[in-house]
């Protein structure tokens, strides 16, 4: 018999109509699943009531195990025990070359890596799917039915490839993804911050091994991630390490490598106890002599030992604020996420920086999963319409297309809220051009070579026309999960081509930040470069048109002297174009000067060909009218 939950007044679902939906926090170290029951978001535990499922998969001879069982086998069988697969998902071999992991990585393709296990080469998508499968089974057991869908959280800095790979993992686990949600946004929802009208919030997420900070702006119920920052190699484990090192030294040294595990465990226990006690006694047994060392550890001493680590987290916070052009005082609230934010000195440091107490009411390990569950409940249609919240995120970097001259035409500017669709018309550059290559790029710079290439595709079958006559509408569409599809349609003939962007390589937070900084630092140079390139394209187009016109009508309509004059002007333009390509990469001043000279040469050519153009026009009109009666023309 099905078991019932309490609903909000007027919202009790008809039988068989309550749609079971869950929120999943697919973490690097641990994963959680949560759902809304009786109007409240709760984390679903396993049979032992454990909420956290270690994101570890072990490939055994007979069976694959996930979670605590898999983690227990890590020491004995490191090659076949995969932890932290999230660091690999959606990344290319080049991206992960520097990631230090205890198992063997192999390239699956240019764009994906796999882990060599006894069960074969496993992709991060397959490994992630195993974790998701375990969470799905737990949720279906706890909720007593099949799930209609799940909201899965991803870091705000995940790029399209990493998001797509996460969706692929969910599909493989048999989960219907209602949407992907940014982790900081999920934490903000868990605290109900989305019910405010507007505000600026900072989400400080210090986990076991990673640190992320995000600045969110809420406007009319819509969260935008304005900036992100962090340190992928800083977490609670580092605090344990510092404390263990202090203990080893303060207790007189002489510890053996065999004691390291015990020292870390003792450090962790002491660290956790200090959240509730002013002072604790840290104890650890020497494996060599059996002697138990113990030292009193007051909170103040622990603060001193780990001060440097807490300081290290504040750098990325300040940078993220600077990127968002905000001062700490302008922030309306700070949300703490991640188990390590239980440490009081972390809370104190954050409170001092922002001059306000951070939100800590929700278990920091669970906030992200709970927020995802609330979102899943809304998306599954279990809430009435009027308070249905539609959450939006933004794309972190501009998306655009390559145009002639290696320039970027931005179609969707950075920080546009998604889902969104924008289009722009393009045309052909050459007479009789029947195909167009579309190169989708991401970044803030003006030149394609400085941006990140996402995809290329070709629109074929454009009917031959003179340059500039074809009308090709290029539409960029980003769905609610931040996945991009690009569509190109030639308006006259209707030929079209499309691509779903599953971009090839990863994009780390630092890269986004670097790309933004680059674009700011080189704004002046980029602008000069772009204007020069545009002048070059204009000049080249004029040059080509003149060549074609001379070829067609030169002998008919021009005196030899006139032809000569035009050829001289053309030569001047050609010379300038050659000098321009040499000047590229020069100083902005030099480029501006070059552009002036090129413009002068093009203007001269334009001027001298104007009478010729007029004569050609007259000749065409005459040709069209000859042999026709006036009344026929009027009809």
């Amino acid at each position: 018999m099905a078991l019932l939950q309490i609903a909000e007044p007027g919202r009790a679902a008809a039988p068989h109509q309550h749609r079971l939906a869950v929120g999943i926090d697919l973490g690097t170290t641990n994963s959680l699943v949560a759902s809304v029951r009786s109007g409240l978001a709760v984390v679903l535990g396993d049979e032992q009531g454990r909420a956290l499922l270690p994101s570890v998969v072990h490939y055994g001879d007979a069976a694959t195990s996930v979670g605590d069982a898999a983690r227990a086998l890590a020491a004995a069988d490191p090659q076949n025990t995969i932890a932290s697969a999230k660091r690999l998902i959606g990344r290319s071999p080049a991206d992960v070359a520097s990631v230090n992991l205890p198992y063997t990585l192999e390239a699956l393709s240019d764009t994906a890596v796999g882990v060599r296990t006894r069960a074969g080469l496993k992709s991060p998508v397959e490994i992630g799917a195993e974790v998701l499968k375990a969470l799905k089974a737990r949720a279906e057991g706890a909720l007593g039915g099949a799930l209609v869908g799940a909201v899965i959280t991803v870091p705000a800095y995940f790029d399209d490839a990493q998001r797509q790979a996460t969706k692929d993992a969910a599909a493989r686990a048999g989960l219907n993804v209602l949407r992907l949600l940014n982790e900081p946004t999920a934490a903000a929802i868990a605290y109900g911050l989305d019910t405010a009208v507007e505000g600026i919030y900072v989400v400080y997420d210090l986990g076991g091994g990673t640190f992320d900070v995000s600045v969110l702006r809420l406007t009319r119920g819509v969260f935008e991630v304005i900036s992100t920052g962090g340190d992928a190699t800083l977490g609670g484990d580092d605090f344990d390490h510092h404390l263990a090192a202090w203990f080893a030294e303060a207790s007189g040294g002489g510890w053996t490598p065999a004691d390291i595990g015990a020292l870390h465990a003792a450090a962790r226990a002491a660290k956790e106890a200090l959240t509730d006690h002013e002072t604790v006694t840290m104890r650890c047994r020497r494996s060599a002599t059996g002697r138990v060392e113990q030292l009193p550890l007051p909170r103040a001493l622990f603060d001193d030992i780990c001060r440097e680590l807490v300081e290290r987290t504040l750098g990325p916070v300040r940078r993220a604020l600077r990127d968002a052009k905000l001062k700490p005082a302008e922030v309306d609230g700070v949300v703490l996420v991640g188990g390590s934010t239980r440490m009081l000195q972390v809370r104190a440091a954050v409170a001092t920086l922002f001059g306000r107490e951070p939100y800590t009411g929700i278990d920091p390990d669970q906030a992200v999963a709970l927020g995802a569950a609330i979102q899943a409940d809304a998306l599954a249609g279990n809430r009435s319409g009027d308070d249905g919240l539609l959450l939006l995120d933004v794309n972190p970097l501009s998306l655009g297309i390559e145009t002639m001259g290696g320039l970027v035409e931005k179609i969707i500017p950075r920080n546009s809220t998604v889902p969104t669709a924008r289009g722009q018309e393009f045309t052909t550059f050459k007479d009789g051009q029947t195909a167009m290559s579309l190169h989708v790029v991401q970044g803030e710079r003006e030149l394609v070579s400085d941006c990140r290439s996402l995809a290329r595709f070709t629109l074929r079958g454009i009917p031959p026309m003179v340059a500039g006559a074809a009308r090709i509408r290029v539409t960029f569409q980003i769905d609610a999960d931040g996945l991009l599809s690009v569509n190109a349609v030639e308006q006259v003939s209707g030929v079209h081509a499309q691509i779903e962007v599953k971009p090839s390589h990863g994009l780390a937070t630092e890269m986004v930040a670097d790309m933004l900084m680059d674009s700011l630092n080189s704004a002046g140079a980029d602008a000069a470069m772009r204007m020069l390139r545009e002048a070059e394209i204009d000049a080249r187009r004029l040059f080509d048109a003149t060549v074609a016109a001379l070829h067609e009508d030169g002998d008919k309509l021009l005196q030899p002297r006139e032809q000569l004059e035009i050829l001289v002007a053309m030569q001047a333009v050609a010379d300038m174009l050659e000098q321009c390509s040499e000047a590229e990469g020069g100083s902005p001043q030099a480029q501006r000067a070059m552009r002036e000279s090129l413009r002068a040469a093009s203007d001269a050519l334009n001027q001298i060909t104007t009478p010729f153009a007029g004569r050609r026009m007259d000749a065409r009109v005459k040709q069209a009218l000859s042999g026709q009666r006036v009344d026929q023309l009027a009809a």
Partner: protein, 107 residues
Amino acid sequence: MSVSVTPKAATQIRKALAKRGGGVGLRVAIKTSGCSGYAYALEFADAASADDLSFESEGVQLLVDAKSLPMIDGTQLDWVREGLNEGFKFSNPNAAATCGCGESFAI
């Protein structure tokens, strides 16, 4: 005429009300739908309406509208755990048959 809850169910209801931060009690109602004709509905109650009958059981206020009462008179609400799943379960002496899923019943 009465509807009651077990001590375990009462604890859960109190907990849910406290977490929700408001509400006078629990509304137990019958809706005509589902595969066997009638379905139970459990909702938080923010106020009693004129045709509500109110019962107190194990310190919890239960509200039942007059139309629903005949069909659930004598029902006891329990909180049970089945494997990982936990929730409220109805023991209704009036129900002649319940559908396989237990979400609806016939009289």
